[in-house]
């Protein structure tokens, strides 16, 4: 694999960084929401 971007690195790495960050935030937000909802429902069903 070639990670040498030459002069274009200042455009390529931010593009990949922003994409990785955006996807990571979406995954964490989605999974956290699911866990929260599951825990809340479980607590209500216990009552």
């Amino acid at each position: 694999m070639n990670f040498d971007m030459g002069a274009y690195g200042i455009y390529i790495w931010p593009a990949y960084g922003a994409s990785a960050l955006g996807i990571a935030v979406a995954v964490v937000w989605t999974v956290a929401g699911w866990r929260r909802a599951k825990a809340k429902l479980a607590a209500l069903e216990k009552k």
């Binding site: 694999m1 990949y16 999974v31 909802a37």
Partner: protein
């Protein structure tokens, strides 16, 4: 349509999506990993040099962003015509991911534009109509949050989504209808070399599977939240 409604039943959806989710999650990771490997081992393009790497994430993000709006519009139509409650849930759950992929498409596109066109942004038909797509997603989500009554909110948001659907063919054909700085279609026409086409298409599939995975989890979350709300109303 009966087939669709049978699986759109919340109970059936929870069962079916629970079984499918591990496979879509694994397939997403495999596709994105393979596309990254193929992309970073591909040779530089004779015109774009190493910036061709941006194409492997820009084109999939833009394509999936438009596809999600198609999903949103179909769910909205189902909601307006058949009043199926899961259609509203599905449409609402898709919107944040549509906004994310649109924003990523715009950001990565502008980072490609600077070294290739000499500018981050131009108000040409493709870029402007794509920016409008981001505003449509944001407006759709804002409308859902602005109206307290869920039935009214769903109806208003569905109408907005259907009106906004007219923008999708405009985005797609903008490079043919108007003189734009943005280049024309090069995948279907077969002008992209296989060494670049493979990472691009695999990443596109990876992004699509990522959306499907996250979308199913969001719908499942909304179903659980509805159950919790019903329980709380029953208790009080």
């Amino acid at each position: 349509m009966q087939f669709l409604f049978r699986y759109a039943n919340p109970h059936n959806f929870m069962r079916l999506s629970g079984a499918v989710l591990p496979f879509t999650a694994i397939a997403t990771a495999l596709c994105i990993g393979t596309a990254l490997y193929l992309g970073f081992t591909a040779p530089p393009d004779y015109q774009q040099g190493r910036t061709v790497l941006i194409m492997f994430i820009h084109v999939p993000a833009a394509t999936v962003a438009m596809s999600i709006y198609g999903v949103l519009a179909v769910c909205s139509l189902l909601s307006l015509v058949w009043r199926h409650p899961l259609s509203d849930t599905a449409a609402r759950a898709a919107a944040p991911f549509g906004a994310l992929f649109t924003a990523l498409g715009l950001f990565t596109g502008s980072l490609w534009g600077k070294p290739m066109w000499g500018t981050y942004w131009v108000w040409d038909a493709r870029l402007t109509s794509f920016l409008l797509l981001l505003f449509m997603y944001l407006g759709y989500m804002a409308l859902w949050n602005a109206i307290e009554d869920e039935v009214r909110a769903a109806r208003a948001a569905a109408i907005l989504a259907l009106v906004g659907a007219v923008n999708i063919p405009i985005i797609h054909f903008s490079v043919e209808w108007w003189s734009t700085l943005h280049q024309g279609e090069s995948i279907v026409s077969g002008t992209t070399a296989p060494v670049f086409l493979a990472p691009l298409l695999i990443m596109m599939l990876g992004y699509l599977l990522l959306f499907v995975t996250l979308w199913m989890i969001r719908i499942r979350t909304a179903i659980l939240e509805r159950r919790a709300r019903n329980l709380m109303q029953g208790v009080s």
